[in-house]
Symmetry: C2
């Protein structure tokens, strides 16, 4: 089901622009990204064969490598041109991200991830928990090899914040009385923290002055919030093929995302009963997901979620103002357009 209301939203970039922007970024750092992918495979190695097997499954499943791309492009924007520190740290950020994906899928009991059977569905929850732990530890080994305590501080802090966001999500799940403020804290933790760290680490590697580090961190943070807002809209509005995971997962799990909060706030008493029955009591029939989507459309929940994402996207762009115009800045700006345009 297309996100039809998004057409009336303030989003101006169309899908072609979004994909062009991603392509431009990938081409700008193509060599670095390849080196990063090679390093990911190499450092996934372990004498315990199941670990690289699960690792290969995840690497093969693809993913856009958005977070490592941010690190690579931010380092480029900051003028980093010699050395491979940005590649090593981009890999370690992808390890952290992959570890959280493995654990998320266990927590959510997801069957699909990036359009393929999820690792927990294929290899079991036990292996997913333990291989996630391995990848997390391996990420810190890579950071130690890099040798920057500043980077170690940023990424250990981000990792703790991610876990806090995930726990808060667990607590507010199935609770229609949870607030927009709590929702924002959840997505700032589970998503924006690592986006922010990814961009900031690039700035640090490049030796940017503190104001520029802070600006790139803000860029990443706001981009991360925008990205997750769009993700949460897509969970109700995308087709399964385009989403690469099961549509309606959030609904079935009773996750309280912004589209739900808006439809609930604006709903009639009878509609609120519907949300309570389906999300709090988990009492759902086949007809309920289409009804949830119809209610969101009725109350402009999609358009307003996308509008909110656009506002964060604009804030994200402002973080780039400190840097001179050029290929790298345009590529990072394009990523904002890409993230928002996924909702078209």
């Amino acid at each position: 089901m297309p996100l039809s209301e998004a057409q009336s939203s303030p989003v101006t970039s169309n899908q072609a622009t979004g994909e062009d922007a991603l392509a431009a970024l990938m081409s700008l750092v193509a060599e670095d990204l390849e080196a990063c992918n090679r390093l990911i495979v190499a450092r996934m190695h372990s004498p315990v064969a199941l670990i690289p097997q699960i690792g290969a499954h995840i690497v093969a499943a693809g993913g856009k490598r958005l977070r490592p791309l941010l690190t690579l492009a931010a380092a480029r924007l900051g003028g980093y041109s010699e050395g491979q520190r940005h590649v090593a740290l981009a890999s370690c950020i992808e390890f952290i991200h992959t570890a959280t994906l493995l654990h998320d899928d266990v927590v959510d009991e997801s069957a699909l991830r990036r359009g393929q059977a999820s690792a927990n569905a294929l290899f079991g929850n036990q292996a997913s928990v333990l291989v996630g732990d391995f990848l997390f530890a391996r990420a810190f080994e890579l950071m130690v090899e890099d040798g920057s305590l500043e980077v170690l501080g940023i990424l250990s802090g981000a990792s703790a914040t991610i876990a806090e966001g995930e726990v808060l999500q667990l607590i507010t799940q199935n609770d229609t009385s949870s607030t927009e403020e709590q929702y924002l804290a959840v997505i700032e933790g589970k998503t924006a923290a690592l986006f922010a760290a990814s961009a900031e680490v690039g700035a640090i590697v490049a030796g940017c002055p503190p104001a520029q580090q802070k600006a790139l961190r803000a860029y990443g943070h706001n981009l991360g919030v925008a990205f997750q807002l769009i993700d949460d809209a897509l969970d109700y509005s995308a087709t399964q093929e385009s989403l690469g995971k099961t549509v309606g997962d959030d609904f079935r799990e009773g996750k309280i995302t912004l589209p739900v909060l808006l439809a609930f706030q604006r709903g009639t008493a009878e509609e609120r009963d519907f949300w309570r029955r389906t999300l709090e009591e988990g009492d759902q029939t086949e007809a309920d997901l289409p009804r949830a989507i119809a209610l969101m459309q009725k109350h402009h929940a999609f358009a307003d979620t996308v509008g909110r994402a656009q506002a964060y996207g604009d804030a994200s762009l402002a973080g780039l103002d400190l840097f001179p115009d050029g290929e790298a800045r345009r590529a990072l700006a394009g990523i904002v357009a890409f993230c928002i345009s996924r909702a078209r």
Copy 2:
């Protein structure tokens, strides 16, 4: 059921000696241990209330704090007397250990831990996975505050090795054809790696020369192997009260530990069928655990496991030879006796 055969093993220390030894160590570093416990509570803090709640549950459940004790005593042995680095790093080692316990209980579906309901039984698997992730990240934040890349390298390496050991254990589970070599690799990973790191970190804080660091690391490694061998014997031979967890857990989960391997190797064809049915096929009746224990006694599997532990204990003691006699060395030697004497 007491580990009766152990009385014919080469273990010479009696239970009183073991407990006296633990008490002597705890009294030697009593102030440091208290500071460590305070720091654990303080740094478990998070605005997400469920995190300190689960943390408090684990802290309240006690545990002997063996690993932090090793760090504190090793630092003392190395002559460290000023500063609180050993306390901070001992806390972070306990955080790593607690994170692995939370994840282990999810992987093993354990109902009891240290004689109380396990966190996964009380708070659910999802919270246990995520709070484990938080504690692991928090441990690295503490290490970054300490600021030693050497310590960060040791503990990130140990964390990866622990996860590898746990994955190997998962793979060899329910497989009676797995080998003693694989079993040893499992316990070296899941247990000995953090014991070794705990002692080594104490030596590093104290500024010990490399040979002494290596010796304390070897002390911890061999102690860890001895500790786990005894643990695996106790899983079949202890009473539930003394064990603090469900007796027979390993049997029900089909874990292939040394007592099983010895009884299987030495068993008749009919006995091997019994092991295959119960451990590989998981087809168990109430009479099977007593029969497993009887077979282990018949084949001297307990005595030989304890004997093996004693040999590792002796190797562990040899690691202390480089240090002058004194309270700290005697306390660390006493821990070896304590670990072995648990099997009495």
